[in-house]
């Protein structure tokens, strides 16, 4: 969970591995698509091919309050609540 002006939540069980979050992240930063340069690592379990997003939290600035990864995730594995205040709920 990251909470800089809102709450970004990862729901690993929902991830289907499409990498849209990585592409959206890199595009927002550079106007180019590059999963390797995004602030998201998609952890891949080779036993099951299950993937789960992990945010490089020290680098992520939540795209200034409208995180592209959450908007791009079709499976709601990354969600964002813009008006969340730290400590108000969990």
């Amino acid at each position: 969970m990251i909470s800089i002006g809102g709450r970004l939540t990862i729901w690993p069980d929902r991830c289907r591995g499409c990498r849209s979050c990585q592409m959206a992240c890199s595009f927002t930063k550079t106007l180019e698509y590059n999963p390797s340069a995004s602030y998201i690592i998609l952890e891949r379990d080779l036993e099951t091919e299950k993937t789960a997003p992990m945010i490089k939290s020290l680098r992520c600035d939540l795209c200034g309050g409208n995180p592209a990864c959450a908007a791009a995730c079709s499976y709601k594995a990354i969600t964002f609540e813009p008006n969340w205040e730290s400590g108000s709920c969990e």
Binding site: L42, T48, K50
Partner: protein
């Protein structure tokens, strides 16, 4: 606005040499880059008349032009090669293309700066090809040669890093089994009809793709807006919830009518292999890159002798049809065989099953001796298991089955035209049968494409029961003139309410477009992306404004290139013939099923299909007698092959 550069990497395995050819996009744009330009390379550099297993054969791997961007469905890789399937009694071989999605491989190629890989020659020992940022390296396969697909895939990913893409052949590809395919990223199959065997003939066990560079489009803001708009369509698609729950396992309601061998009562089949049954083993649905629908599957078998066995891919349709053909009621037994094919041997499950069905039933009927080299042919599961293994290993009778339908004819005296399900054309058994499916345009492409598989041609017409308005609305996005549309949607007494022959010509051209740009066929099958959307995407990606009509015109250019390459190798209209079995009624428990037109207005006969083929060639501007593109047509398209 920066226009992309097109880079083709060439590797000559005989000489261990690699070189890169770089082109401006203008130089590849007339065939849409991607696999379109791959076809041009094949047209210019692949000698005609060669054996598919000779070092002169080439494999061209082409990620689509849009692959690696955040456009839904843009995950596709197209491979072009001369396939080793024996395609005629006089042993000709077609040059064809095959496509597959994936999560890592095609993107990894593009990120490394490889828009296309051309593999020629033959390595002196088994090798792995590695596509990385610094270029291509040829590395010893070592003890990976001889191992199964999934073990090799995992080993390579563990060595290279979790974002590495892998394309791997199985043991059947190593042994040159002519149906053997490849598996990409562990979940997607590529190249039934022998792409895996061509890799094996070159001593290439696997290709790894792992780049870290950026993928650029000419108009990033405009492109991204279109991507968002299209994604919204998928997100609001009424069937999405069902689809993302089941992936490709969701197709049963359509599939049970179209791929039904007609041996069991449909209700029994439903209970044994239907959606409820699939849910017992389905554990997860996995997406290809940028896909909001997802269709790849992970399953774990519950109970029985294969309890706990896991697999990846899409086993349900294959196992359901094959289970009925072989009379195996326990779906887990059939899924186990699919798992072995996907994760170990890489044999094509459709072809191998049908050959096994053919020879065991012919032995039962006394047409061939039950005692064959290395096995007694019986209609039971242990015999089938043994035959799959013998085929993959080329042992005994399996060596004959490994060479396909014409070798079975030569060695056992069984004519492929006698086979009772789906039919065989150019040495390939179709995955659908035109009788339960009805004669829809995709069945036509099985006849007219150089490689008789759908190749990603789907439109709304591939499901039964679509209204004429729905079919026409989708075609209206192709940018065709009113005159052409009127020809396509003119009712005739041989084709029904629309002209399948003329429709198919443009559907195939659209397929060439999808393959060149790398767009999954599911999105045209479900009418979520239209041809004019593709034109907008392509324009924004490469910085050249073109409309749908021009896009399809360029697809037509690729169709003509592909056809001419095969004309050079002796193919003609005589090879595009419908299989005899389509004209023999299927005697199903619910009654006789004859091949009918899409709206079931009449039974189709040979002369009806001949008429549709006439219309297809005429619409293409090809000679109706030979089925060859005319010099005038080639000149009009600017082709000099």
């Amino acid at each position: 606005m920066t226009r992309p550069i097109d880079r083709t990497w060439f590797v000559d395995l005989t000489r261990s040499q690699v070189h890169v050819e770089e082109r401006t996009y203008d130089e590849v744009a007339d065939v849409l880059g991607g696999s379109g330009f791959g076809w041009r390379i094949v047209a210019n550099r692949l000698p005609s008349g060669i054996d598919p297993f000779s070092p002169e054969n080439m494999i061209v791997l082409n990620p689509g032009t849009l692959v690696g961007t955040r456009v839904m469905g843009a995950s596709k890789l197209t491979a072009i090669t001369k396939f080793p399937t024996v395609a005629s009694a006089d042993h000709r071989y077609y040059v064809g293309s095959c496509t597959s999605g994936g999560r890592y491989f095609a993107i990894g190629m593009r990120q490394a700066g490889c828009d296309r890989l051309v593999i020629q020659g033959k390595a002196s020992e088994p090798v792995i090809l590695a596509i990385r940022d610094g270029g291509l390296s040829i590395e010893p396969a070592g003890d990976l040669w001889g191992k199964g697909i999934d073990e090799v895939s995992r080993t390579l990913i563990e060595q290279e890093g979790q974002d590495a893409g892998v394309l791997v052949i199985g043991t059947a590809g190593e042994k040159l089994v002519r149906s053997a395919l490849t598996i990409i990223d562990r979940t997607n199959s590529l190249g039934r009809g022998g792409l895996g065997a061509v890799f094996g003939s070159k001593n290439v066990k696997a290709v790894v793709a792992h780049g870290t560079g950026s993928i650029r489009v000419a108009d990033p803001i405009g492109y991204n807006q279109i991507a968002d708009e299209l994604c919204e369509r998928a997100m609001t698609w009424p069937r999405r919830e069902h689809w993302i729950k089941l992936g490709l396992a969701a197709g049963w309601s359509t599939f049970k009518h179209t791929q039904n061998p007609g041996m069991w009562e449909k209700e029994s089949w439903d209970k044994l292999y239907g959606e409820e049954k699939r849910l017992e083993s389905l554990r997860a649905v996995i997406a290809c890159a940028s896909c909001p629908l997802n269709c790849r599957l992970r399953w774990v078998l519950p109970g029985g002798e294969f309890d706990g066995e896991q697999g990846l891919g899409s086993p349900y349709s294959k196992s359901a049809t094959s289970g009925q053909l072989l009379g195996i009621e326990d779906d887990r037994k059939m899924i186990h065989l699919v798992t072995e094919a996907n994760s170990y041997t890489g044999i094509d499950f459709y072809t191998t099953t049908r050959l096994i069905d053919f020879v065991t039933r012919m032995a039962e009927r006394g047409r061939i001796p039950a005692e064959q080299d290395g096995i007694t042919l019986a209609r039971d599961y242990p015999t089938y298991q043994r035959l799959y293994t013998m085929t993959a290993n080329r042992e005994g009778l399996g060596d004959i089955l490994a060479d396909g339908w014409y070798r079975v004819q030569e060695e056992l005296g069984l004519d492929p035209s006698e086979y009772w399900y789906a039919g065989v054309c150019k040495g390939v058994d179709f995955i659908y049968d035109a009788r339960p499916s009805r004669f829809h345009p995709l069945m036509m492409t099985f006849l007219t494409r150089p490689r008789p598989h759908h190749g990603g041609s789907h439109t709304r017409t591939n499901s039964r029961g679509k209204t004429l308005e729905e079919i026409r609305d989708q075609a209206a996005h192709w940018g065709l003139s009113d005159e052409v549309m009127d020809r396509i949607f003119l009712e005739t007494d041989y084709s029904g309410k629309f002209n399948v022959g003329r429709y198919t010509a443009y559907m195939e051209d659209l397929m060439r477009v999808k393959n060149a740009i790398g767009l999954c066929t599911i999105y045209t099958y479900q009418a979520l992306i239209f041809a004019d959307d593709m034109a907008r995407l392509y324009s924004a990606a490469v910085g050249e404004q073109i409309n749908a009509r021009e896009l399809i015109r360029r697809g037509e250019r690729v169709s003509n290139l592909a056809k001419m390459i095969n004309v050079r190798d002796g193919f003609s209209r005589a090879d595009d013939q419908p299989p005899d079995v389509w004209f023999r009624p299927m005697e199903a428990p619910e009654g006789r099923i004859e091949m009918e037109d899409y709206y079931q207005t009449k039974t189709l006969h040979r002369e009806d299909l001949a008429h549709m083929l006439d219309d297809y060639y005429e619409e293409r501007g090809w000679d109706k007698t030979s089925g060859h593109p005319t010099p005038e047509k080639l000149a009009a398209l600017g082709l000099s092959i």
